[in-house]
Amino acid sequence: MSAPSMSAIEKLRQAVQDRHRYAREWKARTGGKVVGYLCSYVPEEIISAAGMLPVRVFGSREPQDVTEPHIASYYCPYCRDCLAQALLGRYDYLDGLVIGHSCFHILQTFNSWRRHVPLSFDYHLFVPQHVRSPRAKPCLTEVLVDFQAALQEWSGQAVTDGALDGAIAACNHNRRLLHQLYQTRKDPSPPITGAQAMEVVLASQVMDKGENSQLREQVLSELPGTDGAGEMVRLMVVGSENNDVELLRLTESLGARVVVDDHCTGSRYFWNEVIPGPNRLEAIAARYIDRVPCPQKDLVEKERLPHILKLAQGFGVQGAILIQEKFCDPHGFDMPQIQALLKANGIPSLLLEVDITTPAGQFRTRLEAFLEMLQTGTA
């Protein structure tokens, strides 16, 4: 059977590739503001409820030479890549920029961005680092009250409870659709590749939720029962803000299928929902506090590790590719522990250290060797 025609998937893919054009067109069409955000702890619900389009800032994974004066070369490539996009004018359509309090690296991106490419609205949104502290939810709720007020003041429009309810429902629906899509990947011969799945999730972070969900529903209806490629080595990818679709394509071209991930641009972005409550902001705060934590916020309980293992086992993973952004401290502390946990549970892993660009030849060799070892049971 040949690969299925997935026009909706193609549209989502195009939205990711032409994300700047999409945002500009959205802006021209609606007259609304576009707000870029750094870090998946920024609550899209509130930005959407304010009638704005939240757009996750991604790098382009192209060589660049504009960030060196602003960010040390030993900061992570992702934060340098994101700043490069701003300095190169690729996000010149943004009206505002929000960062969720996270690591030093991305904070520097935000600081340099607002200094050199000033916007009429920028916001450093404090998100507690110890998310399992009983003090975290009340704190984030208070922070979100201030954030909502700041958006209102900036836009001159009230963010009503009705608008919040609508945005919560739209985001939750979007998350459910992504869950449904991921569930299909448990199939022995998944109907969607890992690269396609990544593009679908990325699209959700740069598109209007309603439009995105419509396409997503279409994707689900168009999916065949299988991709026809037969059973392949089932892999998981684990890491940080990974939008490197090409790396997944390369991996899958070697006879593997990426069936699940643990990335903040992937499953961690949508894994849990807002449970609606009378206090909307409290409900939103609870969602972000309760989500599978980023390693930056998983400082005490180490919840992410068993979650990764559960995903690996639930999706029948045979091996894992651990993607470490060079110089990333939070993930650097986690990776050996993840490797040890997976190994103890019979899941071999391959650690790839990545920079802005992917050394395709070198990675191909390493991936081939890893897959061969998995196929022969020698990993």
Binding site: P69, H70, I71, A72, Y74, Y75, I99, H101, C103, F104, H105, L107, Q108, F110, N111, S112, R114, R115, D122, H124, L125, F126, P128, Q129, H130, S133, P134, R135, A136, P138, C139, E142, V143, D146, P295, Q296, L299, V300, K302, Q324, K326, F327, C328, D329, P330, G332, F333, M335, P336, Q339, A340
Partner: protein
């Protein structure tokens, strides 16, 4: 003041500071035989909380970091102990070295060779790597762990205070539970009072550094700061800094200088490479003196004005805020870390423009002629905003140099290259080598 020479004098209180350090380590190594809780972590902050336990010993980050910085073979063994466990060589060098001493069983080995085990670990999020280190430490020793999330200071301050104070109160209760000891609020309050006093006195010493010639240099300040990092919550530290302040005032009155020459006054920003402390005095061959910098300033308490003017903060009680209850003391302690220590906030907030104002203010008011930045590969926190600050200073016409190294990983230090940079910078300031 080309060619001018000044009198120098030994600091009378120097030996007292050394003795305090020895006593601190004696407390750690004898904690078990004395039956007092041995605490690891805290990053040399929030120590008044420990006072609430009555007796305790505080290992801080660990005990052997300076030691392995002086003994490179052992230092290499410790750094590699981290790396052989699969952790990245790119992570924070302090935490790598610290955890390396633990994995290599150096950190907790007493002078008599016995290994001791801390009883509880408390860490905080000034830098998230500290939090992650605390987790690994607690796992290694299999001891209870408490984590304090310190918020930045660029959002609603009442929310920030409430969040931090509530966590600190939780921590006090937790400490009582895991040690089986009663939490003594009076001792806690006294500890907070002492920390405020210690920091204020230390700030007053910094202010005296505005004098020409400066009575102390950065190398002296670094040693004199040790009690302020390790035991600032204790009465002995307050007494020591009072003694130091009197002596430094006297040095200023008598025109006693740090090093005998002062043709140029420099600020040193961020940490030194701990294995290369002679960097403090390298400019001396050109008659230049490091008179202070971020780190000594960070351990005082300051009121910051919008124009970058640094004024030593008054204690809460001097401002009419009594320390009567636990909440009073929690707020006073939170105030130090949320509002009165600007250096540690630069890297946690989005207020980069404030940071450059603060450095410019120090440059102006301490009558400096240049600023040296350590671009610390091994510390992301130290690097936040540094490039932007450097550019802003250059734009303002302030001579700036930067050298790249790592505060705890001597394997990346290129001495000749770093010293060449210093030579070029100092010559660029119009200085020439002086005769010793």
């Amino acid at each position: 003041m080309k060619g001018q020479r000044f009198e120098t004098a030994h600091l009378e209180c120097w030996d007292k500071g050394k003795e305090m350090r020895r006593e601190h380590f004696r407390e750690i190594w004898t904690a078990k035989e004395r039956g007092v809780p041995l605490v690891i972590g805290l990053g040399e902050m929030f120590q008044p909380m420990l006072c609430a336990l009555g007796e305790y010993a505080d290992m801080g980050y660990g005990t052997k970091l300076p030691f392995i910085m002086r003994h490179r073979d052992l230092g290499t063994k410790c750094l590699e102990a981290w790396e052989t466990r699969g952790f990245s060589r790119d992570c924070c060098s302090v935490m790598r070295a610290d955890l390396g001493t633990m994995y290599a069983e150096v950190m907790h080995r007493a002078p008599d060779g016995k290994l001791i085990r801390p009883d509880l670990c408390i860490e905080m999020s000034f830098c998230p790597n500290m939090g992650r280190t605390g987790r690994l430490v607690a796992d290694y020793f299999n001891i209870p762990y408490f984590y304090i999330d310190v918020p930045p200071d660029d959002f609603n301050m009442e929310t920030a205070y409430r969040y931090l104070m509530d966590q600190l109160e939780d921590c006090l209760e937790w400490m009582g539970r895991v040690t089986g000891r009663e939490i003594n609020d009076e001792l806690f309050i006294e500890g907070v009072r002492n920390e405020w006093q210690s920091r204020k006195l230390w700030g007053q010493v910094q202010e005296l550094q505005k004098a020409t010639p400066a009575p102390l240099d950065s190398r002296m300040l670094q040693s004199l700061l040790v009690p302020g990092t390790m035991v600032k919550q204790k009465k002995e530290c307050v007494e020591f800094y009072r003694m130091l302040l009197d002596e430094v005032k006297d040095r200023v009155d008598r025109g006693i200088s740090a090093l005998g020459v002062e043709e140029c006054r420099l600020l040193y920003e961020w940490m030194v490479p701990w294995y290369y402390l002679r960097i403090h005095r390298y400019p001396l061959r050109y008659g230049a003196v490091f008179i202070g910098g971020t780190i000594p300033a960070a351990w005082a308490v300051w009121d910051m004005a919008g124009d970058g003017t640094w004024t030593v903060a008054q204690t809460p009680e001097e401002r009419g805020l009594p320390l009567r209850t636990r909440r009073d003391a929690l707020r006073a302690m939170a105030e130090i870390y949320l509002e009165k220590t600007p250096g540690v906030h630069w890297y946690r907030t989005s207020r980069g423009d404030k940071a450059e104002n603060d450095v410019m203010g120090r440059f102006r008011d301490w009558h400096a002629h240049g600023v040296v930045f350590h671009q610390d590969q091994g510390c992301r926190a130290a690097q936040v905003g540094q490039n932007e600050i450097r550019m802003a200073l250059q734009k303002a016409g302030i001579p700036v140099m930067a050298f790249e190294a790592s505060q705890c990983d001597f394997r990346v230090f290129t001495e000749a290259e770093v010293l060449d940079r210093f030579d070029a910078f100092l010559e660029g300031l119009g200085l020439t080598p002086i005769e010793s």
